[in-house]
Symmetry: C2
Subunit: 355 residues, 2 copies
């Protein structure tokens, strides 16, 4: 008996004639989204709420359960419930869904999310790290489906940098559910402190949040007039504002996205050299800045990975045959990847492996 | 149809009453080892030869085939041949065994190793990267077997730094056989040039060869009298000589192993954060310096991986229950891991996956 490290797509997954439905929840720090899904008919309905974080975790859990119950009640009239899936911010221990101290969810550490929800709902709940759920969604319902590829690695650039690895349709969870933490790959060994307690990780160099941090650092340095003017006009400037400035040609703003691309390229080189998968997806809020960071990202990846150099797709490969080449592309589902992946979770299994 | 990324242990693997045998070959730059193996009775015989690299690749291939044929002839009298497995230096494209330009095997690039051997031998040959074969050996016949763990990541510190990842007994090959190239994880972004064409990789900081390089760099710097005296006495000094000097208390020699441990810790943190496996093994010729590099390695891993900090085994865990903890340990099989893993290869399959 050995510790399970993968969540497996169950045979029901493709049973398109089944009259079953699942409920998927994308639990984010800002939004709480609940959806109903059927393998046969796709998304049946979605309900969006705001996550009432400041009212405490009991209020949020109560909101979750109310939303889930309503969806179940409506859909149960015509279909049979398979289960509830949820993507949650990590670190979260699987399969039990024990939350550890979360930088973005203070006070939630120690909560047994799965048992708490199952008790209140009286049905099976399957929890996943939100980035893993998004990767599963992209694999079966997004870019992976479009390309016919069932092994991929996805990086989500948001408040942090999340990661998820799918091998032949199965989530690589690792023994505790902590696998795929690509945001904590080493970029600059003596670099900026990271929320994880380490330093020089990918996260402080490639998250959406990091764009603001690096803009402020440049402004403090006193030699970035365009950025300084932007911040003077609006001290609450967003990564998008820095992107607009970069697109207008401001060299300092452009440099921020080039450095971000370089960091992503280093992180991707680690993924390519370790996993040698056919597809790497970049998702999350920063995706609209793709043109600003992608050239530096590909340059860095090319320089650091002979595997990528051996398998870089030609223009012809991009149009036709994909086998054996390494594709780094934009994710397809945007903000929907999380709840779509969560909807698929009840159609997966996590069993102890036997030898 | 999606590109296969894993080599799977076949059901015959555990069929201990089968009257089959396999032949395993460890093809190294210095030694060529051929063994016969039976799942029921273990290693039946081993034949050691020197790899005649300077006589050219045809001579070496001929030696391989002669050695394999002799073993097959002897063992076929009482058992049935399952197939031939070989661990080869990489980069080698799988499953076909196409050799790319090898730093340690000049002139071998472009050889289709599998087809070449199958044609000469008239039997099935399965090729693997040597580090993957060693990891498979440690999993089923070494440390993994001892601990009852079937998912692990192994780093081999030799001329280079090799890596192999086993998930539930299956080799993570990646789509082209290039997965597990842990020797090319980023350590120092602007660091030393690596044989892969990149710079700052693990290999120039943590291979056995790197110990000599760093000793020379310290000597050239002019402030390492102990190392300088060692090199003056024996210009062809080995990593072992540096180890002996370090064990005698020489601060500069000790620092070389501490830096190596730090590099290993950074590489391991990438593996732990990406894979979250129960077991990471260090193998290869440098293993006898474990006491010199391990403390720095564990310190660095602890500081860079919150996953490791959450799952670090206590002294009690080391004695008893292992589930859910992250173990970083010495490999068990020494130089035998490669040919033992090669012997297991004929009992694995690589099939195209269907969706």
């Amino acid at each position: 008996m050995s510790r399970r490290v993968m969540r497996t797509a169950a045979p029901e997954f493709d049973r398109e004639n089944a009259n079953e439905f699942s409920v998927g929840v994308d639990f984010g720090g800002t939004n709480l989204r609940v959806a109903a899904y059927s393998p046969k008919d796709g998304v049946l309905e979605t309900v969006h709420q705001t996550t009432r974080l400041k009212d405490g975790r009991d209020a949020v859990v109560s909101d979750m359960c109310t939303g889930i119950r309503e969806v179940i009640e409506r859909q149960s009239k015509t279909r049979k419930l398979k289960g509830v899936g949820m993507g949650s911010p990590g670190p979260i221990e699987l399969p039990g869904g024990l939350l550890h101290d979360l930088p973005n969810l203070p006070g939630w550490g120690g909560l047994e999310l799965r048992a708490t929800l199952e008790k209140q709902l009286g049905t099976t709940v399957i929890i996943e790290n939100d980035a893993n759920a998004a990767a599963l969604g992209e694999c079966f319902l997004g870019r992976g489906k479009t390309l016919g590829i069932d092994s991929l690695c996805m990086m989500t650039l948001g408040t942090g940098v999340g990661g998820g690895i799918i091998l032949h349709g199965n989530i690589l969870d690792g023994m505790n559910g902590f696998a795929g933490e690509i945001g904590h790959l080493n970029i600059w060994t003596d670099g900026l402190a990271c929320g994880c307690g380490g330093h020089g990780c990918t996260e402080p160099y490639a998250s959406a949040t990091s764009v603001r941090t690096h803009a402020k650092l440049r402004i403090a340095h006193g030699d970035a007039p365009g950025l300084a003017a932007m911040a003077a006009k609006n001290p609450e400037f967003t990564p998008r504002d820095v992107g607009v400035l970069a697109e207008s040609g401001d060299a300092d703003a452009r440099k921020i996205f080039e450095n971000l691309g370089q960091a992503l390229g280093i992180a991707l080189s680690a993924c390519v050299n370790t996993l040698n998968l056919p597809l790497y997806l970049i998702g999350g809020g920063l995706l609209n800045a793709w043109k600003l960071f992608a050239p530096a990202m590909f340059n860095e990846l090319r320089s650091r990975s002979y595997i990528y150099r051996l398998t870089e797709p030609s223009a012809e490969d991009l149009a036709t045959h994909r086998n054996g080449k390494t594709y780094v592309e934009k994710a397809e589902l945007g903000g929907d990847a999380g709840f779509l992946g969560a909807c698929l979770l009840p159609f997966t299994t996590w069993e102890e492996a036997r030898r």
